[in-house]
Symmetry: C2
Subunit: 110 residues, 2 copies
């Protein structure tokens, strides 16, 4: 699904989960592979899933998983799902994760 595109809008009622991974540069690629597999095998089949967007920092030290869900309840249900937890554990073995739930406050364009 490399050609898909994601839309960010303010006040659209969705829940955004941004998980920032602090990772050793030697493991950045392996972490991305785990998160990609988790997105394809588990996340994108979950109720309320909208998108997962994976970003790699140019310096190798971070990976950001920017995920959109229909509602906060969808997020909570997925956090409690054993398959999702299995991928979260694999990622946690490679990097320090800092996940938070966010709302889009504003979008500014030129």
């Amino acid at each position: 699904m490399e050609r898909a595109s994601t839309v960010i809008r303010a006040d659209d009622g969705t829940a955004t989960v941004i998980n920032v991974f602090d990772v050793d540069a030697s493991k950045q690629q392996e972490l991305i592979e785990v998160l990609t597999e988790g997105a394809e095998k588990v996340m994108q089949h979950r109720p309320g899933f909208i998108s997962v967007n994976l970003l790699a920092s140019n310096d190798g030290s971070r990976v950001v998983n920017y995920a959109q869900w229909g509602s906060l309840d969808d997020v909570k249900a997925t956090l409690a799902n054993p398959d999702a937890q299995s991928y979260a554990k694999k990622a946690a073995a490679l990097a320090e994760a800092t996940p938070h739930v966010y709302s889009v406050v504003s979008v500014h364009h030129a």
Copy 2:
């Protein structure tokens, strides 16, 4: 520009700067106001600017500034701009900033 929408795509040649602010919940709103003013008065007039997307964590402890630029050179030029630096200082007085430059690796949809 609240009604604008931002598009995330992999491999589109843009540079993404994600700045994660660790903030005291009592200052989250003030930080958002500083970043909003900086986006409107400085960032969106800079060469190569595509978008600034501001997200507030539901627990009050984080603000994420997800910014898109045409190229890494545009990012470097803006980091060296005195007006941009002035807003960065105002934000740094309110919160701990962790900015990194990223590339979008992949986008996954249902």
